[in-house]
Amino acid sequence: MAHPYSSLHKGLAGAAICLLLCNSNYAQNVYKNKDTTGTAATDSIGWLKKTPLLPRDTTGHLPNNELFLPHPQIGAVSAVDMNETKKLPYTSIDQMLAGRVTGVDIRTPSAEPGKRTSVFIRGASTLLLKNSDVFYAQPTYVVDGIPLVPDHPFPYDIQRFDLNRMGTEINLLSFLDVNDIASIEVLKDFAASAKYGPLAANGIVNITTKGPRSGRMKVTVNSWVGLSLQPRVKTVNGEFERDFRMPFYQKYANETQWRNFPRYLADSTQDRYFGASDWDEVYYRNGWSNGIQAAVSGGTRLANFRFSLGRSAQQGVADRTGMNRYDVNFGVNLMPVKHLMLTTYISGATVTRSRNEFIRDRAGDEDYLVNFESPPSPNKQYFQSYFTAIKDGINKNRNNNARVLANLHYDLSPHWSLNSRFSIDYTQNFRDLFIPTYLNDGNNFVSNFDGLSRRMMLDNSVRYDNTFADKHHLDVTVGQLALWDKWRYDYGRAYKGRSDYIKIYKPGDDANKEGVFGNLRLQTNYKDYTQSNLASFYTNVGYNYAGKYFVNLYLRRDGSSNVPAAHRWLFSPTLSAAWKISKEDFLQQAGWLSNLNLRASYGRVGRVLMDEYYKGGPIYNVDIGWNGNPNMATYNAFPAINAGFGTGYVTDDLKWPYVEQWNLGLDIGLLHDRIHASLDVYAKTDKDLLLKIPVMEESGYTGLVKNGMDIRNFGYELALDAAIIQGPQFGWTTSLSVYTNQNKLLAMPDGVQDMTIGNRRLLVDKPTDRYWLLINEGIYNTDADIPINPSTGKKMSYQGVALHAGDPIWKDLNGDYVINDADRVMKGRQVPAAQGYFSNTFRYRQLELQVLCNYAFGRKIINQAMADRFDFAAREGADDIKGIKEVNYWAKVDGDYDKYPLYNPWSAVNAYQPDQTLFLEDGSFVKLRAITLAYNLRASWMERRGIEQLRIYATANNVATWTPYTGGDPEAVDYFGYDQGYYNWPAPRSFTLGFNFQF
């Protein structure tokens, strides 16, 4: 019985370690090494020929993804150790990736169970300025060769606030049960991912589930139960808040401001705000989670199957949130006639989610602001009634997902084979929302969202492979692919229903119909539909000489329905090569060197335009709303159409944007692969990205949409593994990784060098992920301190507003005595300069302990929670979304309060604006993410009863964090690096106990 890592490292050489634990057969320690560098490449190319359509490994698992999409085997891939991951109660893939792969930046603005998060592979190549931008930068997830349909951001078009996307906001990847997953690989360079064509523009996360297998019937049962600990917050009441504000009032308030002193803070005798602050007892809880999954598989060589059922539930620690999943998966391999293999997978899942009840999010849903003058009470007694009232409402969120895959593989001859693959991924997204009168200024609200995403794929290919003179191996594939994507939603909302007992909104135009919600004029229906079709032709030519020299050329031509006809087709080549130096004669004698492999790739793939706006020149649409009212469609009851001023002037010769990527990799294995290292260096350049550049305002257009933005992401990724001790009783393995990402804007359309979008500046030759900040240098204590422009005699001003005592000293960079955008600097990375993980695994007999840390350095956060705290004056009772206070307002914001000067919060210069260096903090961290203890029961009685594996494990998650950041968990910030305080829920500390059982 060898140690897992020793068998793992045998011949291991990839940039990537792929641990493929087949059928969770830990007891047998059967790890299959999916070598990504070429040692096994001969095998993986040859296997079809030598043992066509036979189970390949000892447990009989058929490696589906290779069957469908032959791996070039010389790319940069990073894979997750599924054996470890399975011990953790993760409900989605991105959580499994965190701290376990290289090259991946995972941003989780809120740890609310089941909520959408984001993953960026090798940096974000498109701009991230608003929530909808995140959708365009996500990798494609491929499950068993089925590319999953992503969510489309188009519902944002009718949303007034840039908050959640309409619908359920359920994480698409929460459909998968971790126990069904055989492997997860992150494909980074185009040697590994070009075969996915334009879907690979943001990288690929390739997930293989456990498929059907032949052999004796086998049953596995996995179950776990977990507990997330109730977070501790420092609750405060009105008195604290009043004490906090008093110094500002005493120093700066004028008569009007005193008069506006908020009423809820004025009367200290009422216990609604001045009583005990114990809202947290109602709001937070210990969250239980549990999961159970069972699978059965087996069959003959001619017909075999796998069937699994799973369920998992997770309670959030705050606001009664949680998620529930049920999933069922069925796969079958049939060989009806010789040489023909039919594989079918059918999977279904349903995920429901209990969402938070933030007032802000509700305002976003309703597109209506209620009166925010009195925040929720911090006192349990009052808060409880509010909490109970929520229960009278409805907030149902359900996603249903179905995936179907049919694959037909036919061997024409020993050298020729045909493959035909058809898949559908279909997701429904339902949300019903009803907000009762009590919560809503006496007017109730109802809405329902019915969304659909669908992706169909058809892929046909012919393959030839042969070996000549035992040395020359040739492998040629020619194929064709078609992809049909469709997104649709129906959304209806209605205000002011007749009764809180009517919680359903039925669209219709009969005001007298029984059960009609309310006045028809207060009901609105929206419908939208968009699609994207892709047709592709591809050829792959792979050649290797004696397992030493590998060359692979992949050529592809893609046509997209969303690119104007003249530029519809894009040619994209990828060339990759590897040199297995350790196989050279001169190194054959070097016993200490077990592997030395050098690989390089260059490739290009297109980037599909998800929006349909750009394929026919300037457009007309209905865009006649104004701020706060974006969805007007008629004037005097007549429909109106206008030129697309809001969309921008779409130039009629738009082309495909595309990505070019260089990758250079080196894999080293020493001392029989006890020590293994792999280094990748990459430069990924997005070219011809669309950008709306400012255009003459007098044209009426908000901008000009053009190709021509180029962004480069570059960096390196280093992974190191060492089996330090490999004793029969005791083993110690350590892994360490570090990866970086730098980003640079190379060009903008029309030679634009400098551009401002919202609170970000884009400057050619500078990174795109920097904050744009005023440099804060203290406070003007007296009016006399304020510099005076000697040439005009005017005082230093902030955008024309003269500064006064109590205003911040902002550095006047250009010396014009006016503080404005010209005095802002681009500062502070959002993407960490370096991040990675450090993991140690100890084994003593059957007991195994793993300690996993991950870290990020050189990353900055804007502590907006603190800025908002001090900016209370502008937020108090504001008839604006920023005037909203949640019950969480009654918790002390973490931070170093003494650091912030006592500015005049009423000053017109917006003294506490978050975009200044005052609120920029170091967001580096080291996190002890997981400690796992596992025990494998092994006894003779088990074997007698046919029990193959019985493992018990316990884990602790999010154990500790070390960070200089003063504002709490540095990972709980929004997509753009702003810590929005209580809106960003940190991942709770949690514990799990579970078992894997197989017989």
Partner: protein, 491 residues
């Protein structure tokens, strides 16, 4: 090899299916080739012009920001951006201020008008149902709207770029034209519009036959452009130019044709009541930018009500702006002025409520949902009368005071006696306009027009000469049009 050929043939077939698959028309946006095809396109494009004007005027309450706030009759409770307006600190750094400095929304409406004027004739060729007569009517409406837009922005920014053609995608910088030039252009447009527009949409004129858009006369009253509106606009254009002879000519074109227009005065009670003048479509309004609850056209923002109302009308304890009691007593100093009581309520509170507009439809009250539906009244009969009085006064005609007294008596004031000096008469007209039109987006323009800024605000004559009466141009506009220069006062 045999198989290969079969497979390759199969693939070729699939290839031919590609074109069909990739030629999907967009379902989300109308491209150039699908627009201007039929009568519906033409009408929707015409209504797009109206709708973009509404968007420009309602965006962040722009109509009142430009027209009322700077005058200082309204005071601010706590919003800093609004206080900056009262303080005439127009360079202040607020997101809303960026929007107010920015004229893009007005130019979007102008661009839509330019587009419609140029492209509507194409529809006649493409759709037999769209007659030349139909087209001329729509185009005349659009010309009226374009003239109105230029009139509107000249009052805000003074000299503005004059753009009268459709953008061809080249976006060449355009310098400002002098206000005089722009006004002359607008006058030509309005004159052309007047010839093509009916007095009423009653189907009884050569310009407009049958039911327009399938709706009767009442549906279009005050909303769709008429000849009366065009003359009213012309009167204002000439008056802003200082050509009072022509201005008077045009006020007379309206007032003397009362038999055709049907326009009439409104009582103070009807002006202010729910579903009164601010719902509109009556004969006292001449031109309104419409919202209408029955059409589900309402908004939570963009209405003066959003800033002026508070408890008990809407669930908000404090309004954003108010007219202080002292100001009310000062402005409405004459006895028996009905407006002092009907335009305001809760006079004894620290912040009285400006109660002239309160179009909170009964369908959204009790408890109140803050959906406002008041139309913006651009021109109404009383205002036209006061303009006529001013023209007469400027020209030294004797019956100016009669027009003024006509309005005064309808609001419960005594008639002014005798024959005051020209300046005294103009001052009286100015004050009457201030009283009558408060909160309707006139006061600041009247301050400019009657040259009262130094007298009523903290700006000096020197400031006014320097361009302080006009708004600064936004940074975005300056950055994208190299031919633009900032107003001298705001540099």
């Amino acid at each position: 090899m045999r198989y290969t050929i079969v497979i390759l043939l199969g693939m070729a077939l699939l290839g031919s299916a590609c074109k069909k698959m990739l030629d999907e028309p967009s379902r989300r946006a109308l491209t150039e080739e699908n627009m201007w095809q039929n009568k519906n396109d033409a009408r929707a494009a015409t209504y797009g012009c109206y709708a973009l004007i509404r968007a420009a005027l309602m965006n962040e309450n722009a109509h009142w920001v430009y027209g009322d706030m700077r005058g200082g009759d309204f005071r601010v409770t706590k919003r800093g951006d609004l206080q900056a307006l009262v303080d005439n600190n127009l360079n202040a750094s607020y997101a809303t201020a960026d929007q107010w400095r920015d004229w893009r929304r007005f130019y979007a409406a102008i661009a839509q008008c330019n587009l419609a004027i140029e492209r509507l004739p194409e529809v006649v060729k493409n759709d037999y149902r769209y007659s030349v007569n139909d087209m001329e009517l729509d185009r005349s409406q659009v010309r009226f709207l374009r003239a109105f837009l230029y009139y509107y922005i000249v009052r805000i920014w003074g000299d503005v770029p004059l753009i009268a053609t459709v953008n061809d995608g080249s976006f060449k910088p355009v310098a400002r034209s002098s206000a005089q030039q722009v006004l002359d252009f607008a006058i030509q447009d309005a004159l052309a519009a007047a010839y093509g527009l009916p007095w009423k949409y009653d189907g009884r004129s050569p310009e407009q036959q049958g039911d327009y858009q399938g709706q009767g006369e009442g549906h279009h009253t005050d909303i769709s452009a008429t000849r009366g509106m065009a003359y009213t606009l012309l009167a204002h254009l000439y008056a802003w130019k200082g050509d009072y002879t022509n201005a008077l000519q045009n006020t007379r074109n309206v007032i003397d044709n009362q038999a055709l227009t049907g326009y009439n005065f409104v009582s103070t009670a009807d002006l202010t009541r729910l579903d009164g003048s601010f719902r509109g479509r009556g004969l006292s309004n001449i031109f309104q930018v419409d919202l209408n609850f029955d059409h589900a056209e309402f908004s939570t923002t963009g209405q003066l009500e959003d800033w002026t109302l508070r408890l008990p009308d809407i669930p908000k304890s404090e309004s954003e702006i108010y007219v202080p009691k002292d100001s009310i007593l000062g402005i409405y100093s004459e006895a028996n002025d009905q407006r002092a009581t009907l335009f305001f309520s809760q006079l004894n509170d620290a912040f009285p409520v400006f109660y002239k507009m309160k179009q909170v439809n009964t369908a959204v009250t009790n408890p109140t949902l803050r959906f406002y539906t008041s139309a913006i009244i651009i021109f109404r009969y009383e205002e036209l009368y006061l303009l006529q009085a001013e023209c007469k006064a400027r020209l030294g005609l004797g019956d100016a005071i009669g027009d003024l007294n006509n309005i005064r008596s309808r609001r419960g004031l005594k008639s002014l006696p005798g024959s005051p000096s020209q300046q005294a008469l103009l001052d009286a007209i100015f004050m009457e306009r201030r009283r009558e039109l408060i909160g309707e987006g006139w006061y600041w323009y009247d301050l400019i027009h009657f040259n009262k800024i130094p007298q009523y605000t903290q700006l000096t004559q020197q400031d006014v000469n320097n361009g302080a009466a006009y708004w600064p141009v936004s940074k975005a506009a300056l950055a994208t049009n190299s031919a633009l220069v900032q107003n001298s006062f705001w540099r």
